[in-house]
């Protein structure tokens, strides 16, 4: 029985999670001074939209890279991956 994933709340939230992360990383990197807070508010909307786009691109790039390195014969690999119990 296959259950197809819709554009679910989770999937959206995932994007937001990555987005939040990148945002906080940008904050961490800091801007070493310069622009004041005043101008930022006016530009807020535009910046946000831009950021959204940038994040989507970043996300796409990441997924592309995962796609590239992911084992090609996943089905066979997963089937043959058998370990002995341990400890």
């Amino acid at each position: 029985m296959k259950r197809r994933i819709e554009l679910s709340a989770h999937a959206d939230a995932s994007l937001i999670a990555w987005a939040n992360m990148s945002e906080s990383q940008q904050k961490q990197k800091g801007t070493g001074g310069g622009q004041g807070e005043g101008g930022a508010a006016a530009e807020g909307g535009k910046k946000l939209a831009k950021k959204g786009e940038a994040l989507k691109e970043e996300m796409d790039a990441l997924m592309d890279e995962i796609d590239e390195v992911l084992e090609e014969n996943a089905e066979e690999f997963v089937k043959n991956y058998v370990q002995r119990g341990g400890e």
Binding site: R3, E65, I66, F77, Q83
Partner: protein, 494 residues
């Protein structure tokens, strides 16, 4: 007063050889471990005289065959490294036991150095395989077919603390800490209830509350009583319930919170009964519910979610910390513990950059959405597996790390250093530097001893019953003025 929480981890890795129809795990492990070349490690024995895995913390000795390999087999299966670690073949898995450290941050450094060492030997071993084959190593805990292998944590504890107290206060903590320490797993196994995704790699495998076993009928709390130190003073709590974590932050938080709770138990600071009605069932229920909404029943009839249970421990820990001087690393752990619990209450996805099960889930769901895959797809299982792949260019955790998507706790330089240098503040310093300086004369090693073969004299065994002695501060000068092992032994006796 709680004693310093000297700690270490033992990681069993998954091993396979791609395109090898006759793959044999044991000979592959031997090939792997011996592919790691440290000049002097080649002829040193692991000292099984000092081992006693059948002693039970509840006070009895279990019948059974103690494993002691012959000399040749011993050398082929055991490598003691100059960084103070043990790298060896345990049954059908390669295992890396990091050197003893004194804090969660150093633990991250040394556990990560272990990943590097295994990866270096994987590459060397792969080069020796026939064309078209490649050895692959995964830092995970299951093959998704019902076979599990462990990643164990060890913490030094005061022998005076009764084991009963440890069991009582630790059980609810272990059942609930997976909300931040789980490595994440697609699906369930070992006759577990069907689920798409769960917090822990290991939860499906726990079948009993307390026991000595590790391979069958696994217990949430393991009773192995093998202190590898002065047994009058210490016990080594051997924790088998954890997952093999990739995220540095997850490893750090797991070690830190656990060590704090153990100190609280030693100091009798958990004056609240959080005992669960059915811990074995609860550990699975919690793992199988990534929404974190599942409440588990306490003995007193109350129902709490795992996050709420953790919040109880945190509150007790904050109160405990207020009245005393804790170890220097503990303050930061308490701050992050609180942050993580409130983020888990609010929205776990906020932690996608630091908690393994969340990072893995976000990655998988994003990929599923893009490709229109469902949870049963082999590619989804592959993503799960490959998150733990040790190849830097293929491992998906490392990919996230490279892309700046996960938070680091330590630096690459620190990890590289720990590949060859022992920690400076435990007896691992003495062990490692004896190997560096007198490697040719080292006959055998165990955690609490090192023995020297000097000419034709009887073997000289130096005991190290105190995990915090043998540090750089204690022995650097002694090592400096002992130009060979004979002088070292003479100077130790003087």
């Amino acid at each position: 007063m709680a004693i310093p929480k000297v700690m270490g981890t033992e990681i069993e890795y998954g091993i396979t050889v791609k395109n090898d129809r006759d793959f044999d795990p044991i000979s592959s492990c031997v090939l792997l471990v011996n592919a790691y070349r440290e000049e002097r490690a080649a002829k040193i024995l692991w000292d099984y005289d000092q081992e006693n895995p059948l002693a039970d913390a509840r006070g009895f000795q279990v019948d059974g065959e103690k494993y002691t390999p012959n000399q040749q087999e011993n050398i082929a299966r055991n490598k003691t490294l100059e960084n103070g670690a043990r790298y060896y073949v345990d049954h059908a898995h390669p295992e890396y036991s990091c050197p003893e450290v004194t804090n969660p941050r150093d633990l991250v450094v040394h556990e990560k150095a272990g990943e590097r060492i295994v990866e270096i030997s994987r590459r060397e071993a792969s080069a020796l395989l026939p064309e078209g084959m490649e050895m692959l190593i995964h830092k995970n805990n299951s093959d998704h077919k019902g076979n599990s292998y462990g990643s164990h944590e060890n913490y030094l504890m005061d022998r005076r603390t009764s084991f009963k107290q440890i069991v009582e206060h630790l059980m609810p903590f272990f059942v609930s800490r997976q909300v931040y320490s789980g490595a994440g797993k697609v699906g369930s196994e070992n006759r577990g209830q069907r689920c798409d995704y769960q917090l822990s790699q290991r939860a499906d495998f726990f079948e009993t509350e307390v026991a000595l076993d590790t391979m069958v009928k696994r217990p949430i709390i393991n009773t192995r009583d093998e202190p590898h130190a002065d047994r009058e003073k210490y016990r080594r709590l051997h924790v088998i319930v954890g997952d093999a974590n990739m995220s540095e932050y997850t490893i750090w938080l797991r070690q830190g919170t656990t060590a704090i709770v153990l100190s609280m138990i030693e100091d009798g600071a958990i004056g609240r009964d959080l005992s669960l009605r059915d811990p074995v069932r609860a550990i699975k229920d919690v793992s199988h519910d990534p929404s974190l909404g599942c409440a588990v029943e306490l003995q007193n009839g109350k129902r709490l979610t795992a996050v709420q249970l953790q919040a109880e421990y945190l509150e007790l820990a904050e109160r405990y910390a207020a009245g005393r001087q804790l170890e220097p690393w503990a303050g930061e752990v308490l701050v992050e513990w609180a942050r993580v619990l409130s983020a888990l209450e609010r929205d776990p996805l906020e932690l996608a950059d630091r908690i393994d099960w969340i990072a893995k889930r976000v990655m998988i769901e994003s990929f599923m959405q893009r490709k229109g895959l469902d949870w049963d797809s082999p590619q989804v299982q592959m993503l799960d597996l490959q998150y733990h792949d040790l190849r830097p260019e293929k491992g998906l955790y490392y990919l996230l790390e490279r892309q700046g998507q996960v938070r680091r706790i330590v630096t690459d330089a620190e990890i590289t250093k720990a590949v060859t240098e022992p920690p400076e503040d435990t007896r691992a310093y003495f062990r490692g530097h004896c190997l560096k300086r007198y490697g040719d004369q080292v006959f055998g090693v165990n955690w609490d001893s090192i023995s020297f073969g000097i000419g034709d004299e009887p073997i000289k065994r130096v005991l190290m019953a105190e995990p915090l002695k043998g540090s750089k501060a204690h022995v650097a000068e002694l090592l400096l003025r002992s130009k060979d092992a004979a002088e070292l032994v003479k100077n130790l006796r003087a």
